[in-house]
Symmetry: C2
Subunit: 246 residues, 2 copies
């Protein structure tokens, strides 16, 4: 049971568990430190392009990014909103299946693919940790399919706001006295529309409708205040048990 010194601890990427893992040794951790680098992207920058080579694996340290695909005729669908500590890329494949684009400034912790794959092979805990993360993302992707396939525009918007608030709850979302929640949308209306499978106009209209019905309060177009979280959840068609199992 090695006690690790902070200087080699990695606390801001998916591999961070190794810093507190009882049965990993310092050599492995040092190896991990050697191969990782940090990188910061400007707002709007592409972190990956669908179909193009992706010879590294990254974990988001700060900021948000979208994962999306654009059809030839311009229709775009966002398939995931990436937030810390989500990962980009995967072991065993040298191509990205989707576009990944920064929303605002994004910092990632990055590993070269070969070195990363070697680490996954050599270090069982990394594979296990990645498996858990992947399965969680898989459940989330399937939950979102229900939203895309069967919900109305209003329900989609409510579901998104609720899920975003839940995701930010681990981090920075402000809890207001009286059960309210406030959050800042990392997306423009257009990006939101692409995520919900709607047009920008419908998205804006439904946002207005939720505001007029008192379910949300908009101080600015991207500053959302949810006075009654339960009420908004109900609008998203939730059965009152506090959301998806994920």
């Amino acid at each position: 049971m090695t006690r690790l010194t902070p200087i080699i601890a990695c606390n801001d990427c998916p591999i961070r568990f190794r810093a507190v893992c009882a049965d990993c040794d310092a050599e492995e951790l040092a190896m991990l430190e050697r191969v990782k680098t940090y990188r910061t992207y400007a707002a709007g920058a592409h972190l990956a392009l669908a179909g193009e080579g992706l010879d590294h694996f990254s974990s988001i340290v700060s900021g948000c990014a979208t994962m999306s695909r654009t059809l030839e005729d311009g229709r775009r669908q966002t398939v995931g909103l990436l937030m810390p500590p989500d990962f980009i890329g995967r072991p065993g494949r040298a191509q990205s299946a989707f576009d990944v684009q920064a929303l605002g400034e994004v910092t990632v912790c990055r590993f070269e693919r070969r070195a990363f794959e070697q680490m996954v092979r050599d270090t069982p805990h990394i594979a296990t940790r990645l498996l858990t993360m992947s399965l969680d993302e898989l459940d989330a992707a399937r939950d979102w399919a229900v939203v895309l396939g069967r919900m109305t525009a209003r329900e989609k918007l409510a579901a998104f706001l609720v899920s975003l608030a839940r995701r930010q709850a681990q981090g920075s979302t402000a809890r207001l006295p009286g059960g309210g929640v406030s959050l800042t949308l990392p997306l423009t209306r257009e990006e939101l529309a692409d995520h919900l499978g709607l047009t920008i106009e419908t998205t804006s209209r439904q946002m207005t409708a939720l505001r007029k019905d008192g379910l949300i309060d908009l101080r600015q177009s991207r500053e959302v205040l949810i006075p009654d979280f339960e009420a908004l959840s109900a609008e998203a068609g939730e059965d009152g048990d506090g959301g998806p199992i994920v």
Copy 2:
């Protein structure tokens, strides 16, 4: 490098790689054999219910199943079509997030959760193998989100037929002389509608439309013949490079 005897090889479940794995030993494989059982479900049977306990992990050996969620008001969305060697359940969670229902008769290879989790912890190759499978399913789920969010009814249907033909291509799909493909739908029109995020009527109408346009041929309602696979792919909005990277 142990050469394994057939009697302890498992060739019909996700763990089958162990039978040919050079660096695993016979003891581990024997342990794996001890904890697994086979189970067959009748058509329509539930293999899991959303929100209910699921104290085992299974891999489909034969047959098909759907993974779906039903909202309180009856709207249902299928989030995945399970075929061999897809898995049901996951390490680290004792609840199912979705309903899993057999389409026709289904046989699974089943492990009790505790024993399976122990195996995952103890056997690095199992974790790696599961990781690869999960990441493939994740990409597939995200690809499907593009279909659900942005495609028309006709495109959805074409995309589904194309993807089903591709999945069955590893197995049983008949390749006809002249580049055609024939396949048997494992789903009723209603189940198909639930998968595509459409109603049964729209699904049926689009099926008819594809038939009238010569893109498919229906000998029976569930016997589909695709005379020109490329033409149907194009209808699904594919850019000609042979489908998703998955």
